[in-house]
């Protein structure tokens, strides 16, 4: 859509409204950076120096270091976000060795090994690599999911494990791109909230997102759930920037981002439910005006780019689609539209098919997202919903030509309708889980895409809390910069100390962790909530197996997939002298990963071993995670 003079003016205004302030590091003599003191009112034009406010002095040509410093002072947000992201990725790397492999990771390891062969072929003999005979045998592997993340797993393994030997474990190299995606999610969440609300909201949003036990668990994995959370958020952020900035480059970036999101996981199919209503509301009037004038319907450039570039990127990056493209896309879509329902326990009942309980998603969010985050989210959401309603009320007043009694004061303008976009992003991510036919077997992981936006509103909620606290403190004591910084740090620590402790403590049993207000891990068990899935906890038996398993003994590893088991053995995460077997009938040691529907495995082992007495029970906060049985001598 071409940009008119009116549009340009509006864009400039939006830009002025939403640019976060530069860091006030004008006091270069002391070389200190003043604390962040963003106001509670989002997007309020402020007096802080802007990019344009800190030009070099006219008669001096600053050297590169000075210019870099000036640029950094004027654009600190990418670095603040980057610092948070880097710290978090380092935390993930430091804790990765303690977390075993889930079933799906095992399958993606296998796929990544296969894809790696193809990339090697592509470098050696490109012409041969793009022949169907080379593509299909390799890329048919795990073709129910797109290739982007598995390709990155493969490339990471080649570079960071094989070539540069940065990671000793193959698995850490495979997992690294997923961890980086978590870093991206934090970075974008920070950037988005900092631009939309305040820098402080950005920091708190990133903290809130990182301190969710379920997110921390999934962020370790060579899987797609955290990557799609990152790409979903990135795509929406880029679209939002394209709405703010206008111009072709942001629109093209939106197209590329949507293509990469499509190529990450099928959640991307839902994104039009965010963009279309948003674009319609933001541009509706303009569209109608243009349509009336020229009999054509102008569409925002970003949407055109997403429609054109998105699918192209999707197909280009997935070699499996290079042959029989349409039937294979159909096959891919059918797989997910008609996906199997797996067993999952909720409130003491195992669900295995439709109708899924509507309360599942809200209850699981309440039980797994730290309560402080949810409270801050509710405060922030209430605030932004109030503003959104006030705008709507004004719009109604304008359309009807009759002033409504509320609001008395007009809310701040936001032509990009950021609040609407944030609410739509949450609604589109969570909405499907209110439908009875949506499978719920993935626990919380299938709606992680909502969490960055939930965290953003929590950041906004924190802004409001801090502003009140600051007013209260200022009435009692003089708040200089240092005191304000100390006070802010204490308040953030008070808010998120519990979330931090829960997240740290949850590892490596992230899926068993429930928030303290739900009773913690034992409370989750009392409520009959899912304790784990896909057999990743086997590695946590290592200390017991090391002490108690005899060399050469056989172990039935139950819900752990063969490739995951092999990786555990290869990386000596469990005693490599153990031999894995696929039935308790062949095993001296048998394990059960505790889920309600796995009770059958437990009872079958009782029948086979003629005993119900475990040799060992692995627990987390007293709650059984895995039970180990040992066959009594001669009982066969």
């Amino acid at each position: 859509m071409s940009e008119t003079a009116d549009d340009k003016a509006e864009r400039k205004e939006r830009e002025r409204e939403t640019d976060p302030p530069a860091l006030p590091c004008a006091d270069e003599s002391s070389n200190k950076v003043a604390p962040v003191t963003a106001d509670a009112s989002p997007k309020k034009p402020d007096a802080s120096p802007k990019k344009a406010d800190v030009p070099p002095k006219k008669d001096e040509t600053p050297d590169l270091a000075t210019r870099a410093k000036q640029w950094l002072c004027a654009n600190p947000d990418p670095f603040i976000g980057g610092g948070i992201a880097a710290g978090y990725v380092a935390w993930l790397l430091a804790t990765a060795r303690g977390l075993g492999f889930s079933r799906d990771e095992g399958f993606y390891f296998t796929a990544a090994y296969e894809y790696k062969r193809w990339f090697a072929m592509l470098l050696d003999a490109p012409a041969r690599a793009i022949e169907r005979g080379a593509i299909d045998p390799i890329w048919s592997n795990n073709h129910e999911h797109p290739s982007l993340m598995k390709s990155l797993f493969a490339i990471s393994h080649s570079l960071f494990h094989e070539k540069w030997k940065i990671f000793q474990d193959d698995s850490t190299a495979f997992r690294f791109p997923g961890m980086l995606m978590m870093g991206l999610a934090l970075w974008v969440t920070y950037m988005f909230a900092a631009r939309a609300y305040s820098r402080r909201a950005g920091v708190v949003a990133a903290i809130a997102l990182g301190l969710m036990p379920n997110v921390f668990y999934h962020a370790h994995l060579a899987c797609f759930d955290v990557p799609i959370m990152a790409m979903w958020t990135t795509c929406i952020y880029v679209y939002w920037r394209s709405e703010q900035e206008g111009g072709l480059s942001w629109a093209l970036a939106a197209g590329l981002a949507y293509g990469l999101t499509l190529e990450t996981k099928h959640n991307a199919w839902i994104l039009p439910a965010v963009f279309l209503p948003h674009a319609l509301i933001v541009h509706g009037r303009s569209i109608l005006r243009h349509a009336a004038r020229s009999s054509r319907v102008p569409v925002p450039t970003s949407l055109i780019a997403m429609t054109v570039i998105g699918p192209a990127v999707f197909v280009l990056l997935w070699p499996w689609l290079w042959n029989d493209t349409l039937p294979r896309i159909q096959e891919y879509v059918n797989f997910h539209v008609h996906h199997d329902y797996y067993n999952i326990e909720f409130l003491g009942r195992t669900y295995f098919g439709p109708p899924s309980p509507r309360s599942y998603m809200p209850v699981m969010i309440a039980a797994t997202v730290p309560t402080i985050t949810l409270v801050l989210f509710l405060i922030g959401a209430f605030d932004r919903a109030r503003v959104l309603l006030a705008r709507f009320s004004l719009w109604i007043s304008g359309e009807w030509g009759k002033r409504l009694p509320w609001p008395k004061q007009a809310p701040e303008r936001d032509r990009a309708q950021t609040d609407l976009l944030v609410f739509l992003s949450i609604a589109a991510a969570l909405g499907p889980f209110l439908l009875p036919r949506t499978p719920i077997f993935g626990g919380t992981k299938h709606w992680l895409t909502a969490y960055p936006f939930l965290a953003m509103l929590a950041g906004r909620g924190y802004d409001l809390v801090w502003t009140r606290l600051e007013t209260m403190l200022a009435a009692r004591t003089a708040l200089d910069g240092t005191r304000r910084l100390v006070a802010q740090t204490i308040v953030v620590a008070a808010c998120f100390g519990g979330a931090f402790a829960v997240t740290v403590h949850s590892h490596p049993f992230g899926l068993s962790a429930y928030v303290p207000f739900a009773g913690g891990t034992a409370g989750g068990a009392d409520l009959g909530l899912n304790r784990q899935f896909w057999g990743f906890t086997t590695e946590s038996l290592n200390p017991w197996l090391t002490q108690n398993a005899k060399p050469g003994e056989t172990l039935y590893f139950m819900d752990t997939a063969w490739p995951s088991w092999s990786r555990l053995i290869d990386e000596k995460r469990i005693p490599p002298t153990l031999r894995g077997v696929s039935s308790p009938a062949d095993a001296e040691l048998s394990i059960v990963h505790h889920e309600q529907h796995m009770n059958e495995v437990d009872y079958n082992i009782w029948t086979e071993y003629r005993s119900s007495t475990p040799a060992y029970v692995l627990t987390h906060d007293g709650v059984p995670i895995i039970t180990v049985y040992r066959r009594a001598h001669g009982r066969r």
């Binding site: 519990g498 402790a501 403590h505």
Partner: protein, 311 residues
């Protein structure tokens, strides 16, 4: 005033984070039950429990921990995979977190004490019974025969000692095939195993599912009869969780006279039946159970005992 309250409420929000931290610390430290408490509880129960008493752990999710510390002697298959609680005159409930087992509702608590963080409650059965013969104790070639009946033809199913098939890596696994079982031609079998019932609880019972047309005839010898024949039936949970019109029939007879017939509807779960047998009380003889399938072979399982009401 409204604004002040709102401001105060917002200022109090960080307290939620502090409470969250305090709760977490409590839940992960002082709320934990140390191994020593479990061992002390085991010793306390062991000193008092009689062979006919029940031992249960509350809540149900802590059962694996309880079994680990209490062992087969106190928490073996007879107690863990019981058909119900009615046969036990007394129950020891070993409980944490103030939990109580629903199965003991209506039982009279006669004592309660704490051992560290574990509570041991002793309960008395309000309607005790005296077991005469538990048919599950008779499973084996000595006091039991099995045959496949098709019209007038009756084919014996010999007892075999073999390798069990307790499932593989896929879930749901299906019921375990016990190593020791009566094997019938065509794939049918009769054997003792632990059923994962619709309620997700374990029940030790006799799997008996005829293959194709016909029925399975199971003869228990030298049974002491009481005032009633009491039992349960169920089907493997994955079949049971999709209710259908399908029926499985179990008919009992003794001394060439019918005692009663139980019809199991797919979907009802592990359910009990009881047939009065006052005319047989005190007698000894063979008890015959005949199982006839509905539409298709199912992992059907039953258990039964003869009993007298009263201690």
């Amino acid at each position: 005033v409204k604004k002040d309250v709102l401001a105060l409420a917002l200022c109090a929000v960080p307290l939620i984070g502090i409470v969250e931290l305090a709760l977490h610390v409590k839940q992960t430290t002082s709320d934990q039950v140390p191994d020593a408490d479990w061992l002390a509880a085991r010793d306390a129960v062991k000193a008092e429990v009689k062979p006919e008493d029940l031992v249960v752990f509350a809540p149900f999710w802590v059962d694996p921990v309880g079994r680990r510390w209490f062992g087969d002697e106190l928490a073996g298959l007879d107690r863990e995979a019981r058909p119900d609680e009615s046969r036990f005159p007394r129950a020891f409930e070993v409980s944490i977190r103030g939990e109580h087992r629903a199965e003991l509702e209506g039982w009279k608590r006669v004592s309660s004490r704490t051992v560290g963080k574990v509570t041991i409650g002793v309960y008395e059965n309000p309607a005790p019974v005296k077991l005469q013969t538990d048919l599950m104790d008779l499973v084996g070639p000595d006091r039991m025969t099995v045959s496949q009946v098709s019209g007038p033809k009756e084919t014996p199913c010999p007892w075999q000692h073999g390798v069990g098939q307790p499932g593989g890596l896929g879930v749901p696994q299906g019921a375990a095939l016990p190593g020791d079982r009566f094997v019938c031609s065509g794939g049918g079998y009769v054997g003792l195993a632990v059923l994962h019932a619709l309620d997700h609880h374990p029940h030790r019972c006799l799997f008996a599912s005829p293959q194709g047309v016909g029925s399975l005839r199971i003869r228990f010898s030298n049974v002491t009869f009481g005032g009633s024949l009491h039992g349960h039936s169920g089907v493997q949970w994955v079949t049971e969780r999709v209710p259908s019109a399908e029926r499985i029939q179990l008919a009992f007879s003794a001394f060439d006279r019918p005692i009663g017939q139980n019809v199991h509807k797919i979907g009802v779960g592990w359910t009990g039946f009881e047939f009065p047998t006052p005319e047989l009380a005190g007698k000894k003889g063979d008890l015959v159970a005949e199982v006839a399938n509905g539409a298709a072979p199912r992992a059907y399982c039953f258990e039964a005992d003869t009993r007298n009401v009263g201690p």
